[in-house]
């Protein structure tokens, strides 16, 4: 009975962690700009990795393996966000800026329900 509980909990944690890792990698490929990519990769990598490691810990029980997994998790918890921060800092001080969209007025974008009247449409 408790083996089923352990297996179920570690299944859930491993699947959740894998989904986060996959989403993060997908974001790394698909996002349009460096800073958005970094957001995707940095955040999901940390939490996804920790969830996967938690799932493995539940599977291992109270042994030395769990202590080692805990150490790896703590290490990744500290260094993964730090590396992301260092990369962002380096990119920013090197002059790379996030790309902001071009229109910054308060008018809503061109939509089908808007009545042009005699105005020329926007180029």
């Amino acid at each position: 009975m408790s083996q089923i509980v352990i297996d179920g909990v570690s299944w859930a944690l491993l699947i959740a962690g894998s989904i986060l890792v996959l989403v993060g990698a997908l974001g790394l490929m698909r996002m349009p700009d460096f800073y958005t990519r970094m957001h995707a990769a940095g955040i999901t990598d940390t939490l996804g990795a920790d969830l996967i490691l938690l799932g493995l810990m539940v599977q291992a029980g109270f042994t030395l393996v769990t202590v080692k997994l805990l150490l790896i998790g703590a290490f990744l918890f500290f260094t993964s966000p730090t590396s992301t921060h260092a990369i962002a800092n380096a990119a920013y001080t090197a002059g790379l800026r996030p790309s902001i969209s071009e229109w910054d007025t308060d008018e809503p974008p061109e939509g089908p329900e808007r009545d042009h009247g005699e105005e020329d449409p926007r180029p």
Binding site: L71, F75, F78, T79, T82, H85, A86, N89
Partner: protein, 330 residues
């Protein structure tokens, strides 16, 4: 073809592609990153071949320290490799013929993994059967490395020592001694400084763990020395080379390089004094097994000391040089 063979071939093909890319690329930074990838894939291949201790060392040295040292060197040379000015047809032919001769030589060897090969019928069973009663150590690799083949490991430590001395001799003229005029480079990176400060202690503890756990699991002197050096290198990277030199002076590190080899050789001499052969650890304790344990611990510690000191002093030498090319021309 089984899945294991497929994984082996995939690893080897990837190694070949990476090596070819290293040869053809001119941008030196990409070459340095690719060599780090090469070492990582080699470590993966070694893990798949069940050689965990070697994979450990390969990952630590190849993917870690080697990349850092090559980056330190890249700052001193140009960014792109110059194109070759003449063709190298004759050396290519010579190398190709030598390679063919070597391949022809391997045709006489037994097939990879053949259970009837002499190494599997004589050598391996002897070590596997005898280690438990003669040395009493679960990790047979460390037992073979430090006790059965102790002379080879003494030679390896001496090679590391000689290589370290050679590098220091070659670079001695261009090392700047600390003179208080340098600024710290990462003053405003608060997050990095705090996190590094928190992590250096656990890294050093991990190095000690790997050093002394080598008797029971993957580990040993070589890997532990590299991890020790990695802690000091990351301190030097984040807090400045001058602060690192104030904490661990270059002179002290150079003395430690010699102390490791001295410890290893000294254990052998102590065996002499007890009337046995050189590096026969059995006489160091009251029983054979305890003597072997003590001998292996001391010897591995000597190895770790030399490796750590050589890595740290080599990093000091590489990172402390004046770049001969100005910033504009780089």
């Amino acid at each position: 073809m089984t899945i294991a063979n497929f994984i082996d071939m995939a690893f080897l093909v990837f190694l070949g592609i990476t090596a070819f890319a290293i040869l053809k690329l001119r941008a030196l930074f990409a070459v340095v990153m690719l060599s780090s990838v090469f070492s990582l894939v080699s470590a993966g291949l070694l893990v798949h071949l069940d050689a965990v201790d070697v994979a450990f060392t390969e990952a630590a040295v190849g993917a870690g320290i080697s990349t850092v040292l090559m980056l330190a060197t890249l700052a001193l040379t140009a960014r792109r490799e110059k194109a070759p000015t003449r063709t190298h047809a004759v050396p290519l032919i010579v190398v190709f013929l030598t390679g063919l001769a070597l391949v022809y030589g391997t045709l006489d060897m037994p097939r990879f993994g053949d259970p009837q090969a002499p190494v599997h019928t004589h050598v391996a069973p002897k070590y596997i059967n005898d280690t438990e009663k003669e040395i009493g150590m679960p990790n047979i690799v460390t037992a073979v490395l430090a006790s059965y083949r102790g002379f080879d490991t003494l030679g390896e430590v001496t090679v590391i020592f000689t290589a370290g001395i050679g590098v220091l001799l070659l670079l001695a003229a261009s090392i700047r001694e600390p003179d208080g005029l340098r600024i710290q480079t990462m003053d405003h990176h608060l997050v990095l400084r705090v996190v590094t400060k928190v992590l250096i202690g656990p890294i050093l503890l991990f190095a000690l763990y790997v050093q002394f756990h080598g008797d029971y699991g993957p580990g040993g002197g070589f890997q532990a020395g590299v991890i020790f050096a990695a802690a000091f290198i990351i301190y030097a990277l984040v807090f400045g080379l001058e602060n690192a030199r104030a904490a661990v002076p270059g002179q002290a590190v150079r003395v430690l390089v010699a102390c490791g080899v001295l410890l290893y050789g000294g254990v052998g001499v102590v065996s002499f004094l007890f009337g046995e052969n050189y590096l026969n650890y059995s006489v160091l304790g009251s029983t054979q097994v305890s003597g072997q344990h003590l001998g292996i611990i001391l010897v591995e510690f000597g190895v770790g000391l030399t490796v750590a000191a050589v890595m740290v002093s080599t990093f000091y030498a590489f990172a402390g040089q004046n770049p001969p090319i100005g910033d504009e021309d780089w």
